[in-house]
């Protein structure tokens, strides 16, 4: 059963699943804005007959479609001709692409020791192979430099990791992936990790961010009006690199260390967020001074997403904060570790239980909303139901470690940024960037 606004998505997804003739029954409008009487009328007058037909009538016969091969040239011509072809055939994002020629792709392949035909996994919804070759092709198109290839490979390894949940990337909220880079690769490739870290204008940050979205389109298959059903959508995000100098100076583990990697490792961490906000002029001379504003701002980024705390996602909400260096230094200057900060946010960035339940029950009509019931059934931690007081304060996440913190941004400004996480539909996933054996030599010759 599919809402009528989602029928094109159902058709596109069925092809990727190998069942292009999978019959669907239409649900009129959207149940979220219908009275019980309207819902019943629509179900009995329209959906019911289609369900019956789908179960009793033989589905249409289908045959497989034919597509070009991975090394096939699909268009020959000038820059404009190539770009017209790619745009007409939904192979680009609307900006001009760098024509992916064999020569350019081979330059990218020199920066990996992996076989071009190796697949890192099959990506839903299109069920296409995440090959090293296709990574290079899309890297060329995005305007990446060949030496970015190890980063691109690590990103697609993360995309193909089932824990991330790439198949959900076309969901209603239209969240976009945040990529955080750590390790020596930051300096080697020249990532921006200071002022304007999320602004385009720095080639590795910008081009790799664009690559991510192109790969989602061309290989995973997320095309707007088809498998990408974002109500509004978002533009792809510029890659964020951490300021490891500051993290080291204040004795805080970096983002990659939080995921178990060492300082010698270069890494990518991906997580998907439906939005976020710049929290400006966070003021105070001590950690204690800064905390009320930061805790209040953290709570304000979260509304329906708490369904990933209690409900659909059950403990998978991972708020991500970016702290500008002087904010991190001020907090650390009060003797706080990163763990102390997380503990404080967990204990103080809270909302009343009645509000938590109202968002899920009344405002978004989620079937799981009763904190007492969920706790007594052993499905959520006790912290959500320490009493029956509807005004008791409950956390946004299950435990302090669920809050992700990265130090980056303007060295001279007291701001933070808080992302609204999409839970299990883009769960934080980190991968090591594997460099080719001749990395130093290749870099020196570029």
């Amino acid at each position: 059963m599919v809402c009528e606004g989602f029928l094109p998505l159902a058709k596109a997804a069925s092809v990727g699943l190998g069942m292009p003739n999978l019959p669907v029954a239409r649900v009129i409008g959207h149940p979220g804005v219908q009275s019980k009487e309207q819902l019943r009328k629509n179900a009995l007058e329209v959906t019911l007959q289609q369900v019956i037909d789908n179960l009793l009538k033989p589905p249409q016969a289908v045959k497989g479609d034919s597509e070009p091969g991975p090394r096939d040239v699909v268009v020959k011509g000038g820059f404009d001709e190539v770009n017209d072809y790619f745009y007409r055939n939904e192979l680009s994002d609307g900006l001009p692409i760098v024509p992916p020629t064999v020569e350019k792709v081979e330059r990218f392949l020199r920066f990996t020791d992996r076989d071009p035909d190796e697949s890192l996994g099959s990506l839903l919804p299109d069920s296409r192979a995440a090959t090293i070759w296709s990574i290079a092709v899309n890297g060329v198109m995005a305007g990446c430099r060949p030496e970015y290839m190890p980063v691109l490979v690590a990103l697609i390894e993360a995309m193909a990791d089932h824990g991330y949940g790439v198949e959900h990337s076309g969901n209603t909220p239209g969240g976009e992936t945040l990529i955080v880079v750590n390790g020596p690769i930051i300096r080697q490739l020249g990532f921006n990790y200071t002022q304007g870290v999320m602004r385009d204008g720095f080639m590795p940050n910008t081009a790799i961010g664009r690559f991510w979205r192109l790969y989602l389109r061309n290989v995973a298959g997320f095309l707007p009006h088809k498998n990408d059903k974002a109500t509004f959508g978002n533009t792809w995000r510029v890659v964020v690199a951490e300021n490891e100098d500051v993290a080291r100076k204040i004795g805080w583990p970096t983002t990659s260390a939080d995921f178990g990697f060492g300082p010698e490792d270069s890494t990518v961490m991906i997580s998907r967020h439906t939005g976020g906000n710049h929290i400006s002029s966070v003021s105070g001379a001590t950690a204690a001074d800064l905390m009320p504003y930061i805790c209040d701002a953290l709570v304000r980024q979260y509304s329906w997403q708490i369904m990933f705390t209690v409900g659909q996602g059950m403990g998978t909400l991972r708020p991500q904060l970016l702290l500008s260096p002087i904010i991190a230094e001020t907090i650390a200057g009060s003797g706080w570790s990163k763990a102390d900060l997380r503990r404080h946010l967990f204990e103080h960035a809270r909302l009343p239980a009645h509000q938590f339940e109202r968002i899920l029950r009344d405002w978004t009509q989620k079937p799981t909303w009763n904190l007492k019931e969920e706790h007594e059934a052993g499905r959520i931690p006790e912290v959500f139901h320490v009493s029956d007081d509807p005004n008791r304060m409950v956390p946004l996440v299950w435990k302090p470690e669920d809050i992700l913190i990265t130090v980056t941004g303007d060295l001279a400004r007291n701001s933070i940024y808080i992302f609204a996480h999409n839970g299990v539909l883009g769960f934080p996933t980190a991968k090591r960037i594997v460099l080719p054996k001749r990395w130093e030599e290749l870099l020196s010759r570029k």
Partner: protein
Amino acid sequence: MSGNDGYYKALWPRSPRQSKVKPLAKRLDTLAGKTVAQVWDQVFRGDEVFAFLEEGLKARFPGVKFVSWREFGNTHGSEEREVVAALPGKLKSFGADAVVSGMGC
């Protein structure tokens, strides 16, 4: 070649689909006396829609039986992979003749 526009032989940026076209299950002759399983992603009022469908199907097909969505778990969320992987076994154990899944909204 067109002026200063260069000349390129551009490659296909996609990669081969790993899924092959699968045959769908044979359709039933009737739903009378048959067992219909309900599979739900626990959003968008599917519980209500399934109840309405039960009402409509019972009125038209004598003896039709249902296996509630409650038996299968949530097909969308933190346990979706496990739930979907367990579906074939559960459908067989419940003797399901047909499946209706929702809500794609």
